[in-house]
C-alpha cells in the first residue's frame, strides 16, 4: 500500500465523510487509483458534492471551465496536489 501524505489523508477523510462512503476508510484509498468510475467508483453527482465540500473547506472554487479537471479529479494524489496549490485556508 502506498503511503499517504498528511494532506492526502485529510482530503481522503473529506471524501469519505462528504460522500458517506461505507466500507472505505481514508487510509485505505490508493493515492494513485482513479476516484471516478473505476477505483472508488464515484459519479458526477459525487464530483459536484466533493467540489462544493472542497470549496467550503479550503476556500477556493473548483471551476468547470478548468481544462485540467479530468486530471485534477483523476486520483487522490492529483486532487490533493491541486488543493495544495490553490487553497486559501
Amino acid at each position: 500500500m502506498s503511503e499517504l501524505t498528511p494532506l492526502e489523508l485529510e482530503v481522503g477523510h473529506l471524501i469519505v465523510d462528504t460522500l458517506n462512503l461505507e466500507d472505505v476508510s481514508a487510509a485505505d484509498i490508493e493515492a494513485d487509483a482513479p476516484l471516478f468510475r473505476e477505483g472508488l467508483g464515484l459519479d458526477s453527482i459525487d464530483a459536484l458534492e466533493l467540489a462544493l465540500a472542497i470549496s467550503r473547506h479550503y476556500g477556493f472554487q473548483l471551476r468547470s471551465d478548468d481544462e485540467n479537471n479530468a486530471r485534477i479529479f483523476s486520483s487522490l494524489r492529483a486532487l490533493a496536489a491541486h488543493i495544495a496549490g490553490h487553497r486559501v485556508k
Binding site: A51, L62, R63, S64, N69, F73
Partner: protein, 295 residues
C-alpha cells in the same frame, strides 16, 4: 435495460433529413407537413422497436389495444414536433399559437436560478427558444451529447446561439457547470424520464406499472438546493402548443443518507405529474423504446 434508448440507431438518412429541412425552410411548413405522412408510414413499416413501444404505451394509456389510426397519429405527432423544431430553433415564433399556463411560476424565478424539469413529451425546444427570445430568461439544457446527434447538429446550424446553451452530460465537471449556471441566476433544463446506460434508477409507478426512472434529477435538486419547476410543452395539433409551468415542491432532506432514502418519493411525485400531462395529451409521449422492461 440493455437495449434502452441509447441502443437505438438514428433513423432516416442524412440526405432525406436535409431535403425535409430544405423544404421546411424554403417552401414552407404546409409542404413539409405533407411529407410527414410518408415518413410516418416509413416508421410504422420499418421501425420495429419504435412501433412496438408505441403500441405498448398506447395500450397502457388507453387501457385497450390502440386502433391503427391511433398508432399512426402517435408517430405522426412525433414527426410533426420534430419538423416544428426547425421553426422554433430558427426563431419563427409567430407561426405558432403558443399558450403559456402558469408562466408566473417561471417569471418569479427569473434571475435567481432554478432547475427546469421536463420529459421527452411534446416539444422542449418551444421553451428553449422562448428563453432566448425573451431576454432575462437564460436557459441552459443538460443533454446527452450524442443523442440524436445528426438531427440535433443539423437543427442547431439554424441557431448556433442555442448550441452554446447545451451542457453535455457525461463529464466529471458536467454538474459543476450546472451549479455555476444556477448560481449565476440561470435556469437549467433537464429531462427526467430517460435512464442513461449504467445510471442509477428508482422504480416508479407510471401508467399503472413499475418503470425505472433516473434518480439524477432528484440528487441534483438535493445538492444544489434550488427551486425546481416542472415544464411540459404539449403539441395540440395544427400550430398550437401549450406550455405548462408548475412549482414542484417535493422535499428532500439534507443529510446524504436521509436524502438517498427520499429519492424514490421525489421521483414518484415527478412521475405522477408526467402521467397527469400525458393523460391530457397522450400522443405527446416520445419515448419509443421499452419503457417498462420486464426483468
Amino acid at each position: 435495460m440493455a437495449a434502452g434508448w441509447q441502443g437505438q440507431s438514428e433513423r432516416g438518412s442524412p440526405w432525406a433529413l436535409r431535403l425535409i429541412l430544405w423544404i421546411a425552410l424554403h417552401i414552407g411548413r404546409g409542404a413539409a407537413r405533407v411529407l410527414l405522412y410518408p415518413i410516418t408510414f416509413y416508421f410504422l413499416l420499418n421501425g420495429r422497436t419504435a412501433r412496438n413501444a408505441s403500441r405498448d404505451y398506447l395500450t397502457r394509456i388507453f387501457g385497450r389495444a390502440p386502433t391503427l389510426a391511433e398508432r399512426i397519429r402517435h408517430i405522426h405527432c412525433f414527426a410533426a414536433t420534430i419538423l416544428d423544431r426547425v421553426y422554433f430553433l430558427s426563431g419563427q415564433f409567430d407561426r405558432f399559437d403558443v399558450r403559456l399556463h402558469g408562466v408566473e411560476v417561471i417569471q418569479a424565478r427569473a434571475g435567481t436560478g432554478a432547475l427546469l424539469l421536463s420529459a421527452h413529451v411534446g416539444s422542449f425546444d418551444a421553451l428553449r427558444a422562448l428563453g432566448v427570445e425573451q431576454r432575462g430568461l437564460p436557459i441552459k439544457v443538460l443533454m446527452f451529447p450524442d443523442h440524436n446527434g445528426f438531427i440535433t447538429a443539423l437543427l442547431h446550424t439554424l441557431n448556433p446561439a442555442l448550441l452554446e446553451t447545451i451542457i453535455p452530460l457525461g463529464g466529471i465537471d458536467t454538474l459543476l457547470r450546472v451549479q455555476e449556471a444556477v448560481t449565476q441566476g440561470e435556469m437549467v433544463g433537464m429531462l427526467g424520464d430517460r435512464v442513461a446506460a449504467g445510471g442509477k434508477t428508482v422504480s416508479c409507478d407510471f401508467l399503472g406499472a413499475p418503470a425505472p426512472f433516473p434518480v439524477g434529477p432528484a440528487q441534483l435538486a438535493a445538492v444544489l438546493r434550488v427551486p425546481v419547476i416542472l415544464v411540459f410543452g404539449l403539441y395540440r395539433g395544427g400550430n398550437r402548443y401549450d406550455l405548462y409551468f408548475e412549482t414542484f415542491d417535493a422535499v428532500l432532506p439534507q443529510g446524504r443518507r436521509e436524502r438517498e432514502a427520499a429519492l424514490g418519493q421525489w421521483t414518484q411525485a415527478y412521475a405522477a405529474r408526467l402521467e397527469h400531462h400525458v393523460r391530457i395529451a397522450p400522443y405527446n409521449w416520445f419515448n419509443f423504446y421499452d419503457f417498462w422492461p420486464q426483468d
